[in-house]
Symmetry: C2
């Protein structure tokens, strides 16, 4: 495996001052690296998974390719107001204020085993709320996968009740 | 092949009054249908494609799985302000006002053959602007693929210079 870390582009002060943004697009646009990441994710996923749930919108990229590869269905979790039809909601705290995420109420069957996928683990707030949302639907979160983990933000502590995997650590 | 059309959920007045929204998530969440769609897309794609370019954000779901399957790199086109780093922009007209989409300036090499993927062809405005954006980068749009086409909106006329494929027509 190539050193994936050196393909992450770091952009200072994006999207706002003081944030070091970790841009994964150089990995995605490289066909060999993209393939490698998806296949590593597959190895981390238990055998009995029926759905891959991914968080808008970079999570969709990794989650959809993984869902195809393991032969699972794909379920999006989106920000408030983006999904049509009947939804289950979960609100969670941000640094300032709150945010709301939603999932379709028919997306996951009771007792269905799923994995959750996103591009980046920072504070873990969105992933934690997503896991709770899946559980509210009756689903079982067997694993949470990230491409990048920002270790100093301790998102893994917030997700301590879950089996968490990340491929690239900063 | 099952009749995919009956798995599209139609929601009246979403996201605003008078719009019949075609919801593709029942196909995505069904592992067999999702697989089938991605494999049909693959059959439509010429052999020499190096990159799959997809439009935020439902386009990411189909585009990423297709990119993995054909062994191509994945390139996102996003709404203004979402991509970090150096970008090329394209503005286009909406019913009221204009919108701007962006691509990374290193995403496509000069002369590279790409396919463009999105979930839905309506008026074709976003897809047309995306194709022009790819060409501005030096890329060659060999095919544009959609899951759903709303024929009465004549998006195909707008894309008449391109090879367009859609799987489900309304």
């Amino acid at each position: 495996m190539k050193d994936l870390k050196k393909y992450i582009r770091t952009i200072p002060d994006f999207p706002k001052k003081g944030i070091l943004f970790r841009d994964i697009t150089p990995i995605l646009q490289n066909n060999q690296l993209f393939k490698e990441v998806i296949e590593i994710f597959k190895k981390e996923i238990p055998k009995d998974i029926k759905k891959v749930v991914a968080i808008e919108s970079r999570g969709f990229i990794l989650g959809a390719a993984v869902a195809y590869l393991i032969g699972a269905g794909f379920v999006p979790i989106r920000k408030s107001g983006k999904l049509p039809w009947k939804k289950i909601k979960m609100s969670y705290n941000l640094e300032y204020g709150t945010d709301v995420i939603e999932i379709h109420e028919d997306a996951i069957k009771k007792g269905e085993k799923v994995v959750l996928v996103d591009d980046l683990l920072a504070t873990g707030g969105t992933a934690y709320a997503s896991a709770k949302l899946i559980e509210k639907c009756g689903g079982i979160v067997r694993k949470i996968l990230f491409l990048v983990e920002l270790e100093e933000l301790s998102g893994r502590d917030k997700l301590k009740d879950y089996d968490v995997f990340s491929l690239i650590k900063f």
